[in-house]
Symmetry: C2
Subunit: 299 residues, 2 copies
Amino acid sequence: MSVTVVGSVALDTVETPSGKNIEGLGGAAVYFSLAAANFTQVHLVGVAGDDFPSEHERLLASKGIDLTGLERAPGRTFRWAGKYHEDVNERDTLDTQLNVFESFHPKVPEAARNAEYLFLGNIHPSLQLEVLEQTKHKFVALDTMNLWIDITLDTLTEVLGRVDCLIINDGEAKQLTGEVNLRHAARVIRGMGPHIVVIKKGEHGAMLFDEKDHIFSVPALPLEKVVDPTGAGDSFAGGFMGYIATQDKTDFATLKQAVVHGSACASCTCEAFGPDALVLANMDLIKSRVDDFRKLMAF
Amino acid sequence: MSVTVVGSVALDTVETPSGKNIEGLGGAAVYFSLAAANFTQVHLVGVAGDDFPSEHERLLASKGIDLTGLERAPGRTFRWAGKYHEDVNERDTLDTQLNVFESFHPKVPEAARNAEYLFLGNIHPSLQLEVLEQTKHKFVALDTMNLWIDITLDTLTEVLGRVDCLIINDGEAKQLTGEVNLRHAARVIRGMGPHIVVIKKGEHGAMLFDEKDHIFSVPALPLEKVVDPTGAGDSFAGGFMGYIATQDKTDFATLKQAVVHGSACASCTCEAFGPDALVLANMDLIKSRVDDFRKLMAF
């Protein structure tokens, strides 16, 4: 089964204690696609400006990612700049330039429309709705962020009512629900629509909650060095959705495996700037990381 | 095999979003003993003032805890007061009164001296040294805190050189080593003496590192309600050491089980004020919690 992702395609300038990466390939849809492409056919829906280097497009195509839905618009590509602290779990956003994203309205090509699995990356909830209007998927997962919770909660609530799964950071889960206890937060979110909730906790791993109140908790892989965590969350989502698509089911046992495979992809992303390490990942590496998780957690 | 603990016996005043508990039974040695007593014979070494309610002593004795080493000194019992935030992972210390602890010098009775396992609770490192001078144990674990790292690092370093295991919070591990990466922090700590390092991460669980760079990571049990986390770390240590004492070995497989049993004890402690919930725990409950951890982590 194949997966469609709608989200940002970006040029990121990132500074971490390990160095600086200027205008490198980035964006949620890019990280998601690179991770998910290890598992299955990925259709990317997004927009890039006329300054988007063709080498980036070639890289994505070389991984078998369908770029029919990657619109080329006149103007500059979306840009984000951020700086990570000595403790790389904390970062400051230095700059966000929407550029071509400002007037973007996703047009989902036929192949992408027919994919069984859909991931709505973190974009304006009204754009996420536009995508839902064009498609009819078996299973839809959603990401969002503090900004949309702050400024357009009504539209976000409408989107939440129409998806199967929310993948969200712990801080955002608390903000969205007003609950500091993640178990309660997940329950409140389930009341909003998604019957499955995944809460990402950065260096502390991730938690999965289903509609029967089952809980699965996975730590993050303790890496020798976290070079740049940018895109780790989207890589997680890519591995998560990619795994589900290969299994074509969403029972709790499958979802648990999906969380571990997503975590494996996220761990790869953190080991170099931008998607450099994720690009080098393959199923052998991902499987070996899944084994690492088993060793880390078995008792 | 039996366990000796040296540490504080206290009257705690604690305010959490769930309410307030005024001058309740507390102290590291108390929480440790109550947890460890589920597993094996515990010898408590500490000091209480002449105002220490005899009902507390009776409670500890009723659990089979050997109180021969609990000195009664003229004066007031050690007092601590703290307030937890809405997010109970954060707390402010409002008051600390050393009282009889100020002039305390641990005297370890014969039975306690002969215990195979020793836990040096969080007290001044020079007192921890005094205990080590009086005893010869098979396996010694140590706790400490930011205050001692700040003001008496030399003596703490001397203690570290003489113990097998350090059980420490993530923030303190970072402070002690100057490393933000916990894997590196554990390696630096091992270089200081202890060949086993356990890093407690509160609501994010705990990590275990051994001298062969094996790592085990366990999340915290997602509780419906955290009423009062005071003493959770010491309850963890009690379950950890209690389990090891019953097995009388410290290979990695045993240490992993010990971490899970410690985490089970810690989860009990959080569910009521002071040691109220821990007091009600028994091996059946602890085993059922260990099963909960297995369900939470198995994939």
